[in-house]
Amino acid sequence: MSSGVRHESRLSVRRAASAIVFLAAAAGTAAYAQEERELWPANVEKADQLRRDMREMVALARDRVFPALVNIKVITVRYFGGKEHKGQAVGSGTIISPEGYILTNFHVARNGKKFKCTLADKQEISAELVGEDPLTDLAVLKLDLAELKDSQMRLPVARFGDSNELVIGDTVMAMGSPWALSRSVTLGIVSNTERVLTASEDDAGEMYFDEDQRTGIFNRWIQHDAAINPGNSGGPLVNLKGEFIGVNTRGTFFGGDMGFAIPSNVASAVAAALIEHGEVPRSWLGLDLKPIKKSGLKAGVLVNSIVKDGPAARAGLQAGDVILEIDGDPVTVWFPEEVPPLLKRLADRPIGSAVTLSCRRGDEGREARIVTEKLEKDKGDEASFRAWGLVAVDITEKMARERRLDGTKGVLIDSIRGGNPAQLAEPALAGEDIIKSIDGKPIDNLAALVKFYDELMESEEFPEYLLVEFDRQGKNHITLLKPKPDKDVDPPREVAKAWVGVAVQPVVNKLAVKMGQPEALGFRITRVYPGTVAACTDLEVGDIITELNGDRMKPRGMQDAGMFHRQVRRLYVDDDATITVLRRGAPQTVTLKLERTKMTPEEARRDHNRDFEMVVREVTFFDRDENRWDDSVNGVIVDHVERAGWAQLGGLYPGDLVQRIGEFEVSGLDGYRAAMESMTEAEPERVVFVVLRGIRTHFQYVEPDWSPATSDKPSESNDKKE
């Protein structure tokens, strides 16, 4: 009792002490605040005002751009390993015109086959690619305005600001969909306005998306610390005036919130060109430049290399020349940061115009008049040729130069797929081979190969072999490629054997003793499968099988768990078998006719539908038993859905039991095939699959792409089917 009082008393003291400390702290803070207010009244007022102004400005800026922010879902088709691979990507974009043009990154739209944009009001609208510019990592999409709920709706549009006005320390906002989370805003400041991302050891280095595709050549980056993450790509960087002053493009995972945006002055010009031409027309001079900071030179810019037979070479320029003037304007490039603006200035010259360079070679001065040419694409179009198991690429001038080829004629093999005709050819075709002709017909470009392939695959009869001429590392080879139809094969069948429709577990010595039936070594029936011959006998769960046709069944441990069924399988289907069981300690004999082994899920017939990109299979006896489906439950089981295929995007999962497709009831594989054929003929915008998943039915809406699988245009014929 007394100790309790003492304890209570101690607690009270502690509480009182805490209260005093808290009050003292509060009083101290208040006193400090009052002191501050007395000492720095103007500053405090200013801070309060700044906070109010900042909040208002951020809200204003946010509301001017945020409605124009879109979340972009992209279904991609990439090419590697000798085949096409579908995938999904998410990025951000900004509506830049009332016509529905959206500016985003090239790497968001890259390999895009289908685009869905979610607007500020949560409407999901389809979009199509207008043009892309990998060299600046920008792309333009256009919304399908016909899909808007309100056809009179005026789209919110973001207004470009002048990125040249930005200075280090300016407050900026990054808007986008980080990690695919829709519509986020982060705040930061500009850390650098002329960041270049060349390698520190080579200030003439270039950035590449892949082996053949350069990027980031014509711009410096706005570096800022507003947090951006994957998914923010393509989203706007916004100043406090609510102007779109950059396209967020890159971030760093381990660099402490470093974001990089393409300046709006570059982005707006590229967007305008893409909308007008579908591409960005640029001049090409055929030279590389290098800053002079380590050269000992006092002025000019170094010609680092010259493209053989290019415009600069034809004008007599040589690597090592120092350019001092361009069209009479003195030029000096000390640092890497100064290279992109100069390259852009040259590239922006009209194609076919003349550029006069004043140069110095050694101690001599000279002039070169270069007539520019069109800057062609770095990388050619790709296509996969599924039945041959190869991915091929059009050869561009740049690709030809990098590979020291004589020209662009032919088609470059990107990759091949093992076990397919390209790999089985002797000698086998391989990546980097250049197909020159097939059966004597020249294959000058990808379009020619697509045409040849399409005609071959549509023909009634395949030739036994195709004679393929190809170049490999400067050597000219020939090989025989054996084309084959891309067909599916049902899994191999197991040999039918005898079977008894019961599931069993071994009863070993210790278990039998514990059960009080030491003589009950054998196999305990754990389930009598309904609808089987066994179910028509009086075998029941709990019976212990001790003999089969007079042979004693004595499992010694779990290693003999399969003994009973193994012994049964040695007998013959339709033969009679005598099974002795112990039922509640008393022996019973059951004679029954042996059934055929049931088909397993692995053996079930399958159907691969290439439009919906899914594989289904028949329902087997064991599927019914496992799921407790009686005979009234019918359908086909989804065995596989391809990644990012239409079935997967429609929410179908492996294991789903497809019971209805549109108005067609699906009772089995044949019914399923008939239903799918009807869908293929009708080509509805949406196909409703009713599936049984667990104990619930689900309505899944699949929207397949019914567009032709092949086309004369290589860029559109990248998913070859037959």
Binding site: G418, G419, E494, V495, D560, A561, R570
Partner: protein, 290 residues
Amino acid sequence: MRLKPLSGFVTICACALVPAAHFDNRARAAEADEFRKLISERSSALVTVKSVLKVKMTGFMSGGGDQESENEVTGVMVGPRGLILCSNTQLLGFSGTLNRMMGGMGGMSATPTDLKVLVGDDTEGVEAELLARDSELDLAWVRIKDPGDKTFEYIDFSKGAKPEIGQRVVALRRLGKFFARVSVALEDRIGGMTAKPRELYVPTGSGMGALGMPVFLPDGQPVGVLVTQTPDEEEVEASPMMMLSRMSSFQDSMAGLILPASDVARATARALETVGTQSDSGEGSASGEP
């Protein structure tokens, strides 16, 4: 004095050794003759089965998409009209064994496609189909699609022999294409017999090589076919998480074991019954067994 008895002893020993060595040489020569005869008479029934395996990884191994690879196994002709027997394990790229080892945690499904059979020196192959398989016995049957008027040399396993423990046996196989698919013989002895899970002959060495090879007595009588035998899932005494323990459960299973000729013949008859081709293929009599 002391040398004489010794000289006499050496002389006697030498006299005794001469006929023994002579006998050994003759026996070895006879063995070699028998060996050569076996290869020349029986290897014409060996064929190469080429296929393209379509492989789909499952469980935690999935995600890489479908793959295809070329597969080549030795088969043995078991009927005059192009019925071929080979190892199910090999024909399916060891997928079944992998799945059993993974215990449902992952694995792969493999379907052989574009089957071709290379007979003799043929390097192109003739089209064939996978008729049926018996994964329990590790056998698969392939049939040439259009044999035309041709008949093939084959092994009749219904006329097999039962070897004794310690008896010499010879397995025949074809090497790969790099070695021009030459037929070779591998010799071993029967080191034991099992009764569970079934009757099997166990060779003394585990190095008899590829599965699916026919095994003969030196006089050419078929003994059986080399197979693997894996326990059912519930017979493996380690959970799928315990990979090392599981692998030890498969240690004995993976060595080539000889499935007796009578079982091979019976399984072949069953396979033909399953696909319902016994009457029109002309294979039933070749395989014997009711």
